[in-house]
C-alpha cells in the first residue's frame, strides 16, 4: 500500500476531505460562485510571492529603494515575483469586490448569513489596508507622496485626528518609522488577520451551506 494512501487512512483524512470538498451544491449555481474562490487563489499567490519578496526586501530608509531595485534587476526571476505580487494584489481586491457584488445580488447577506457578510467586509477593509501599506514599500516618490496624502486623511478625524495621524505615521512625518510600521503591517499583522478571518469565513459557509439562487 502506498505511503500516501496509508497516511490518508491513518489520520482519516479521506473523511475530512469528503466533508470539505464533496459537499453537494444547490442547483443552478453559476460561475459567479467561483469569484470568492478566485480571490482566495490570489490571496495564496500573494502570500507565496510576498514571503519570497521578504527574503530580499530591506525595510530601512536608506536601503528600501535599493533593495527593490535589486529584486527587479539582479535577483533571478525577481522581476517576475515582484510583478506577480503587484498584479495579484490588484486582482485580489477586484475579485473581492466582484464576489461582494455577487453575494449582494443574490441577497446572500441576509439572515442567517449576516455575520459572514460582516466578516467579508472586514476582509475587504483589511485587504485595502494591505494595498495601502504595500504601496509605500518601494520607497520612491510616488510611494512617499501617496502615503503622505493617504495618512494625512487620518488627521481630518474630529478630536482624535492629530493623535491618529501620528499613530499611523509613527511620528510627525512620513519617515523611517512609517516605513517599518507599514512593512510590519503589510507583511505580518494584516496577512495573519486576513488568514484568520478567511478561516472563519469558509467555516461559516461550510456550516450554513451556500445560498441557492432565488
Amino acid at each position: 500500500m502506498g505511503i500516501a494512501i496509508r497516511l490518508l487512512e491513518r489520520f482519516k483524512l479521506v473523511t475530512i476531505h469528503r466533508r470539505i470538498l464533496k459537499k453537494p451544491l444547490p442547483e443552478k449555481v453559476s460561475y459567479g460562485y467561483c469569484l470568492g474562490g478566485m480571490a482566495f487563489t490570489f490571496f495564496l499567490i500573494l502570500a507565496a510571492t510576498g514571503m519570497m519578496l521578504t527574503l530580499y526586501y530591506v525595510p530601512s530608509e536608506t536601503e528600501a529603494f535599493n533593495s527593490v531595485l535589486k529584486i527587479t534587476e539582479d535577483v533571478p526571476l525577481g522581476w517576475l515575483v515582484r510583478s506577480m505580487h503587484k498584479w495579484a494584489a490588484s486582482l485580489f481586491i477586484i475579485f473581492i469586490l466582484l464576489h461582494t457584488a455577487r453575494v449582494f445580488a443574490a441577497k446572500a447577506y441576509r439572515a442567517p448569513r449576516e455575520f459572514n457578510w460582516m466578516i467579508g467586509v472586514m476582509i475587504l477593509v483589511l485587504s485595502m489596508g494591505s494595498g495601502f501599506t504595500g504601496y509605500l514599500l518601494p520607497w520612491d516618490q510616488k510611494a512617499y507622496w501617496a502615503s503622505e496624502v493617504g495618512t494625512s486623511m487620518a488627521g481630518t478625524v474630529p478630536f482624535v485626528g492629530e493623535y491618529l495621524l501620528q499613530f499611523v505615521r509613527g511620528g510627525r512625518d512620513v519617515g523611517a518609522q512609517t516605513l517599518i510600521r507599514f512593512y510590519s503591517a503589510h507583511a505580518f499583522f494584516i496577512p495573519v488577520s486576513i488568514a484568520v478571518l478567511l478561516w472563519m469565513h469558509f467555516h461559516i459557509v461550510r456550516r450554513q451551506g451556500i445560498s441557492g439562487r432565488l
Binding site: 507565496a48 519570497m52 539582479d74 525577481g78
Partner: protein
Amino acid sequence: MSELLKSHEMKRREFLKRTINVFIATSALIFSALFFRFVAPMFRRSSTEYFYLMPEEELPKRGVKKVEFPLQLDGRKKTGWIFISVVDSKVLALSPVCTHLGCIVTWDNNASEFVCPCHAGRYNCAGEVLSGPPPGPLARLPLKIDSGNVLIGWKV
C-alpha cells in the same frame, strides 16, 4: 437513470478529477521551480578591476622587486605589496601569500628564491614550488601595461 448513463457519468467525473490533479501538480511544480530559482544564492559575476601600481620605467630589468601600494582595509589605510618578478623578460605579478596556509613569503636575494617563514616552503623566482608543503605555485595576478603605467588586476 440507466446503468450505461451512470457509468458514463463516473468516467466523466474521473476524467475531471484527474485533469484537476494534473493541473494542480503542474502549477505546484512550476511554482516550486520559480521559488528555488528565486532563493538560489547569488554569485557575483567576477570581473577583473585594474588599478595603478607603478610607472613602467620602474619595472626591474630582471630579478624580483617588492612593490608596495596603498590599500584601504576596513576603512583604515594600510600598505599592501606584491612581488614583480621578471623571468626571461616576462613580467609576472606574484602574490606574496603562501599557498600552503597563507603566511607571507619573503624574497631571499642570495638564494634567489621565495621562502615562507612558517613551514619553510620554497618557491623559485617564477613562483613555482621548489620544496616544502605548498600545494601549488604562488598566485599570479593579471598584469597590464597601459601607456606607461603598470596596472594590476583584482578579481571583484
